[in-house]
């Protein structure tokens, strides 16, 4: 082996070793993706955490929750909500706590969330409160167990809509939840939330950035949002994270809809979707008309 060749080999070995070390280091720091499990729901932990979390959420977001009595008292039901507030998504926590307080933690309730949520710093907490990965198999298993299931079909598309579209319900044309409800023959209860988009200034979903970085294919992230929040100012893709402003959050649950009873045995999903969007938007517009000032409510 001549001198230049040995130098090249030595350098290659050093680079390979450094890469391997970096991977090991990253493996220890970056949490591995872990799918949600229905058994992660922990009624005992919920009972212990509920009073304090409800107190804090109530103090910060001053929630106004209407129509809880419209949720059927028993049996599986699919609660369909618009998604707000970016990574903080206050309606997720508030609705979960409200359902637990109203029905008792004993009533099974699951929420479907993006995999990133389950692997975030609050992942272990939200798993205990029944948050599982947004996967049709998880939803079907939960409904078959007789649970209430909350879905936010708009997902990352809707949750990062610009703040000036705060009073707009937009699921981005996603209709999988309707097929799920029809397959399982469970009623849906629409849930409309206003206020989450006032917890920061949401500037752009950054869909172009997700495509540019190929995050849309690698980790199913269709958006890399651009947000101006407290206390760090500009936040791109959730980093640095922002502390949500204490915006007043109003949630209204609407009358349950029995899809087969209303639309027949073989309904047109697109027609149901249009009707649902119109109904939810009308409620949203009404809630917005009550609002006097952003954040304050």
């Amino acid at each position: 082996m001549n001198a230049p060749e040995s130098i090249v080999r030595a350098l290659a070995g050093t680079v390979a070793g450094a890469t391997s070390s970096a991977r090991r280091l990253a493996g220890g720091v970056v949490p591995r993706f872990r799918e949600g499990n229905l058994d992660d729901r922990d009624t005992d932990a919920m009972r212990e955490l509920l009073p304090a979390m409800w107190l804090m959420a109530s103090a910060w977001f001053r929630p106004d929750i209407r129509g809880l009595e419209r949720i059927p008292r028993q049996g599986p039901v699919l609660i369909v909500g618009n998604h707000t507030g970016g990574t903080s998504s206050p309606e997720v926590l508030i609705s979960q706590l409200a359902f637990s307080a109203y029905f008792g933690v004993e009533r099974l309730h699951y929420q479907l969330a993006h995999r990133m949520v389950l692997n975030s710093p609050v992942g272990s907490l939200v798993r205990r409160f029944g948050t599982v990965e947004a996967d049709p198999a998880n939803a079907e298993a939960a409904l078959e167990a007789g649970a209430m299931v909350t879905v936010f079909p708009g997902g990352d598309y809707e949750v990062f809509r610009p703040s000036w579209d705060s009073a707009k319900v937009d699921f981005g044309g996603r209709t999988g939840f309707l097929r799920l409800a029809l397959r399982q023959d469970v009623p849906i209860v629409p849930m409309v939330t206003l206020g989450g988009q006032e917890t920061a200034l949401f500037v752009s979903r950054g869909e172009w950035l997700a495509r540019l970085t190929r995050a849309d294919r690698a980790i199913r992230l269709k958006t890399i949002p651009i947000v101006i929040g407290f206390p760090f100012g500009l936040s791109v893709g959730g980093f640095p994270p922002f502390v949500p402003l204490p915006a007043k959050v109003t949630i209204e649950l609407l009358e349950p809809i029995d899809l087969h009873a209303k639309y027949g045995a073989d309904p047109d999903v697109d027609e149901i979707y249009r009707d649902l969007m119109a109904t939810m938007q009308a409620t949203m517009t009404s809630l917005q008309s009550e609002r006097r000032l952003p954040v304050i409510g």
């Binding site: 009972r47 009073p51 304090a52 409200a98 307080a101 029905f103 008792g104």
Partner: protein, 149 residues
């Protein structure tokens, strides 16, 4: 937390009991409280069950409760089976002709140190609800005594 309130009612004990001896009758006496009987145990008495909703914060807090002590005309007590942990007792005692003392006890405790904070924060509102409930029972019973109902 333990709340105890009492009130003197100018009405005979059996009239007050007719009003408050079935927890479902308390619904409507105060807007913060609603109690619905369980369809499977519709008759008031020992082991009868009810669904209770008590508005404390931004949303009503719910619990399924069961009557665990029941002495007609004198006393009833329930304890929660699900939902928020609590105990409730209503005691009626005759203190003179056509006069009844009603004692209400409501105990609740949330787990953990932050649960204690939550209990302290809610104490004033829960106590106010119980006071209003007793005042409503008194008003309703005395209205009945006057023959105006």
């Amino acid at each position: 937390m333990r709340i105890e309130e009492s009130i003197a009612v100018d009405a005979p004990t059996d009239r007050v009991w007719a009003l408050a001896g079935d927890p479902a009758n308390l619904t409507g006496l105060d807007e913060a409280l609603a109690i619905d009987p369980d369809p499977e145990t519709p008759t008031a008495g020992l082991h009868a069950r009810y669904r209770l909703l008590l508005r404390v914060g931004p949303t009503p807090i719910g619990a399924d409760v069961e009557i665990v002590e029941f002495a007609p005309g004198r006393e009833l007590a329930w304890t929660s089976l699900t939902g928020v942990d609590h105990r409730f007792r209503l005691r009626l005692r005759e203190v003179g002709e056509d006069r009844t003392r009603v004692v209400l006890r409501f105990g609740y405790s949330s787990p953990g140190p932050l649960g204690l904070v939550a209990d302290l924060v809610s104490y004033g509102r829960v106590r106010a609800t119980m006071r209003r409930l007793l005042a409503a029972v008194k008003a309703e019973a005395e209205r009945g005594s006057d023959g105006r109902s």
